[in-house]
């Protein structure tokens, strides 16, 4: 006859295995570096060549999304854990969230023409993207819990900075994206990557 203690020990073993596999929902560091460069270059363009920045964000955003998918796939193969559902959720959150943020800002500008003046529309986009960042912290990487509100505050405050405010904001956000990747948040993903 089976016994309770044996089953208890087996369940404890399974629980430990599951705990070992639980790593923070942070993808490869290369994705964070990619977007840090994108943010820094794009925000600097707002200060130095505003018309070009719109094209940069649009084309760079699409290419960045494709590159992120590929980097995430490569990382999954190297770590030995393939979770398509998680990847889809990430794409839906970041891709869908940012598209909705931009569309919402454009819609607000369309119904309220004064908002189109100056950098208001850009500020609105940044504040809404800050919200997407914050929700990214709720669902994926805790780092975005503070980076989101920081971006939202920066999106408002940049309106009071006469020169190079966007470049400074881009630099702060870029640093906020890459610095946490230098300090692993625990878990076993890195260990597996080395041993796989």
């Amino acid at each position: 006859m089976s016994n309770v203690q044996q089953i208890g020990e087996d369940l404890q073993f399974v629980r430990q295995a599951v705990a070992r596999g639980r790593h923070p929902a942070r993808g490869p560091a290369s994705i964070y570096w990619l977007w840090a460069v994108y943010v820094l270059a794009g925000y600097a363009l707002i200060d130095f060549d505003r018309p070009a920045s719109g094209w940069f964000f649009m084309i760079g955003g699409i290419l960045g999304g494709i590159a992120s998918w590929q980097l995430g796939k490569r990382w999954a193969l190297r770590t030995g854990e393939y979770d398509l559902e998680m990847a889809r959720r990430g794409m839906l959150h970041w891709g869908g969230g940012i598209i909705l943020a931009v569309a919402s800002a454009l819609a607000l500008c369309a119904v309220n023409p004064p908002l189109r003046q100056g950098a208001y529309s850009g500020q609105m986009v940044v504040v809404l993207i800050g919200m997407v960042y914050f929700l990214g912290g709720v669902h994926f990487d805790r780092n975005f819990l503070w980076l989101g509100p920081l971006l939202m505050a920066g999106g408002v405050l940049v309106g009071f900075v006469p020169r190079y405010g966007w470049t400074a904001l881009g630099a702060v956000i870029a640093l906020g994206l890459v610095i946490p990747t230098l300090f692993p948040a625990g878990g076993t993903a890195g260990t597996v990557e080395q041993s796989a």
Binding site: V4, V14, G80, E85, V192, A196
Partner: protein
Amino acid sequence: MGRTEIESPSGPPAGLDQLDPLLQHRSRLGALVLLADVDALSFTRLRLLLDETDGNLGAQLRKLEDAGYVKVRKEFIDRKPTTWYSLSAHGQKSLKAHLKAVESLIKSAKV
């Protein structure tokens, strides 16, 4: 070490006869539980998470494969052979039934 046997004056406790014999091994149970949460795991990843030796894990996974509980796919990544395991529909159903039986068993043991 003493063990608490499940005793019942009115026959076997609830859930005992529904336990899946194949999943009464902790490595096989652990592998299926881990696979239930993702699309696929490599052999290396499973070995690390289950803290098993190559030989033992390979033997346990072979049993799961023979029973149709897991699907196996082999491919080369960076010129290294990698074996991927994923849970089959049959494996998912069996795991669910086994865990339900374990739950019933634990409940009956508490009474």
